[in-house]
């Protein structure tokens, strides 16, 4: 276990954390601000990836594909809001879970009908196709570094948007007391629609950024959705800052756990047992962490103050 390996793994952990943040940010906004449980957030991520692949096949340019796919993801999000979600805002959480779960099933099947069941891929753009030699024979792809930078930029943008702008203020106010905001002459429905569309676009953006690294396939968002929920629960529901820090923590804990759990288990156990115990512990770590956080801070690390 060398120092370089540790450094590389930390970088890997950060990168996973950033990807998680991109997904969790939209989820926490919708959940926190609108008190709406959107299980379909994962398929919106998947939709982003598929749209990017489709736009790439259409245009042949990665950058154009990003822009088109973002717009398409926004439109899909607004469409879903209009058709399904807006009828659920005043229903209880169970109804929302059921309906959005239905959307998952529907969209997973729909992409399979449209694009087939086989995994697809989006090539890395030429500009970011290089790699940086970090270890003797291990190169770190530039695209992953770009992913980290983009994620940080989105974090800053969101922070400014939510805390420094008028629209952010309305969103925060709407979250605390929607009736009062509506009484002051603000169209709360339109505000929610805006938040929802933005959240869907963020999920789509995460999908687009993940497409060149991960395989684009039906159900690709389902695993990440669970991780994203872990992130927002640890971070505090509705808190962008909490989502950011929790995503980084989860990314680091998961990656470092996967890399070193077996080695650590080997110190204490015979090799065969360590091979069994190490990976098992590694895959449990983040859930243990979540249980711990919930025990000591039931409303997450950065709870949002509410009225």
């Amino acid at each position: 276990m060398s120092v370089t390996l540790l450094a590389v793994q930390t970088l890997n952990g950060l990168q996973l954390g950033i990807l998680l943040f991109l997904i969790a940010a939209g989820l926490t906004l919708v959940f926190g601000v609108m008190d709406f449980i959107n299980l379909a957030h994962g398929v919106q991520y998947m939709l982003g990836a598929y749209l990017a692949v489709a736009c790439y096949q259409l245009t042949g340019s990665f950058w154009l594909a990003v822009i088109l796919a973002l717009a398409a993801a926004l439109i899909c999000g607004l469409l879903l809001e209009f058709l399904v979600f807006r009828h659920l805002y005043n229903r209880d959480h169970l109804d929302q879970v059921l309906a959005t779960f239905g959307v998952i099933l529907f969209l997973n099947e729909a992409v399979k009908v449209l694009w087939g069941g086989a995994p697809l891929s989006l090539p890395v753009p030429e500009l970011l196709d290089g790699s940086i030699q970090l270890m003797a024979n291990f190169a770190y792809p530039v695209f992953r570094i770009a992913l980290i930078v983009t994620g940080l930029a989105v974090a800053v943008l969101l922070y400014v948007l939510v805390t420094k702008t008028r629209i952010g203020m309305l969103v925060r106010a709407g979250a605390t007391n929607p009736d009062m905001v509506a009484a002051l002459g603000i169209n709360i429905r339109r505000l929610f629609m805006l938040v929802f569309g933005f959240g869907a676009m963020l999920a789509g953006f995460a999908g687009i950024m993940a497409a060149p690294i991960l395989s684009v396939e039906p159900g690709m968002g389902d695993n990440l959705l669970i991780l994203a929920f872990v992130v927002i629960v640890i971070g505090g529901i509705g808190s962008i800052r909490g989502a950011f820090l929790a995503a980084l923590i989860i990314g680091l804990v998961d990656t470092l756990g996967r890399s070193f759990a077996t080695d650590i288990a080997r110190v204490l156990l015979p090799p065969a047992a360590a091979n069994d115990v190490g990976p098992a512990i590694a895959s449990m770590l983040i859930y243990i962490l979540m249980a711990g956080v919930l025990f000591f801070r039931p409303s997450g690390l950065f709870p949002v103050r509410s009225a």
């Binding site: 060398s2 087939g116 995994p119 891929s121 291990f138 190169a139 159900g219 690709m220 077996t262 091979n275």
Partner: protein
């Protein structure tokens, strides 16, 4: 979920004939095949290949396997073993199928195997080959046109030894099939396994594992990463610049089901298989050509196994002269009276194939499609490790 794909080309005509009472007695016999495959969820593409291969052979026989009107009932098991049992019982009891075929995944196979063979229905496995049914649990009613699960992994172990790779890292998902893959690899591998990495099933990002592999600097990597996991791994392996540094030996990771997604990034990566698109025999050339013309994508080993399953039924039914006499049909099946697309093919005592295994490599063909092609033969006419414990009753 049930879709009936009627392969009856003369069905309407036959019905009319029965109505008018002029049907010849020989035409009254028909063959019903229940085909169980995973056709939904992420691994649906494997089932799709297998089904398409099977149906292609039925089509080539003009909808008449062994000269008998054939109806294929395709059922999706959704990769749910308990649901699959119910569906199989429906096929056996309601539809009264003569032959069952298919099954992609071993957990589904383990669930449906008992009910099918206990009903004394002939069962042609076209992919999953878990060790219990190749060994002690073997049955005269079960035939496989694929392999025992360990065998492709054994190919890579043997190849790594032949190549003189002294130090390898093995990586597989942390579940039974992953553990079996590693055990299979080790069976014929004489060097040292420096690290055994077990990843979470369904893991998407392998950057942490790849850094560990690069740090270890082994002579080769052996991995079993089916489906989307494999696509992710191959992409990331190539992006990390490891492809040209550490040979990538894999099983069920690089094939025609994943190549459309990995494309150039997989070119040059190795896999162990009993079939490749360029195995040189007439049956295979015809199969590959017809498959691509029919479905527009190159077949994989799953498609080849499905195709062979239908061709086996075709050959055996015409040899036995029908499906009424089960005993003679069983002995006809055991004789494997068909030209396999993989060339040498005969049944072992456990009714799994004795066949050749190859090292195959992903290549890009001239017209731009990605396929696997032969590099070298690793095992010649080999059976599996469990046949010794099979005692047919």
């Amino acid at each position: 979920m049930k879709r009936i794909l009627s392969a009856l080309t003369l069905g309407a005509g036959l019905g009319a004939a029965v109505l008018t009472g002029t049907a010849a007695p020989a035409a009254a016999e028909s063959l019903k095949v229940g085909f169980l495959a995973t056709l939904s969820g992420p691994p649906a593409v494997l089932g799709q290949h297998m089904r398409d291969g099977f149906l292609l052979a039925v089509k080539q026989a003009n909808g008449r396997l062994g000269g008998i009107e054939t109806e294929v009932i395709v059922v999706d098991d959704e990769l749910k073993p308990d649901g699959a049992i119910t569906k199989v019982q429906g096929l056996l009891e309601r539809d009264k199928v003569d032959i069952m075929a298919g099954v992609v995944f071993s957990n589904v196979m383990m669930a449906v195997y008992k009910p099918i063979i206990q009903s004394e229905t002939i069962f042609i496995g076209a992919n999953a080959g878990p060790s219990p049914i190749a060994g002690r649990g073997c049955s005269p009613y079960f035939f496989s046109t694929s392999y025992q699960n360990d065998q492709n992994h054994e190919v890579m172990g043997r190849y790594a030894s032949q190549k003189g790779y002294d130090k390898v890292v093995v990586m597989a998902p942390n579940y039974q099939a992953g553990k079996d893959a590693v055990a299979g690899f080790k069976r014929h591998y004489s060097g040292t396994v420096a690290q055994e990495i077990y990843t979470k099933l369904g893991q998407l990002d392998f950057s942490a594992e790849l850094a560990r592999i690069a740090d270890e600097q082994p002579d080769a990597l052996f991995t079993f990463m089916p489906g989307g996991m494999g696509v992710n791994l191959v992409k990331q392996y190539s992006q990390a610049g490891l492809k040209d540094v550490i040979p990538f030996l894999s099983t069920f990771t690089v094939d025609e089901t994943t190549l459309p997604a990995t494309k150039d990034m997989a070119v040059g990566l190795y896999s162990g298989a009993e079939w490749a698109s360029d195995i040189d025999n007439e049956a295979n050339a015809r199969f590959v050509r017809a498959f691509e013309a029919e479905y527009g994508y190159p077949p994989s080993l799953y498609a080849a196994q499905g195709y062979d399953a239908a061709r086996l039924i075709d050959g055996a039914v015409s040899m036995a002269g029908g499906v009424q006499d089960k005993k003679s049909l069983l002995s006809a099946l055991a004789a494997a009276p068909f030209e396999s697309v993989r060339g040498d093919f005969r049944f072992n005592n456990n009714q799994f194939p004795i066949q050749d295994f190859y090292l195959v490599e992903a290549v890009k063909r001239a017209e731009g499609k990605y396929v696997t092609q032969l590099v070298e033969k690793v095992f010649d006419d080999v059976g599996d490790a469990y046949s010794g414990s099979c005692h047919m009753k």
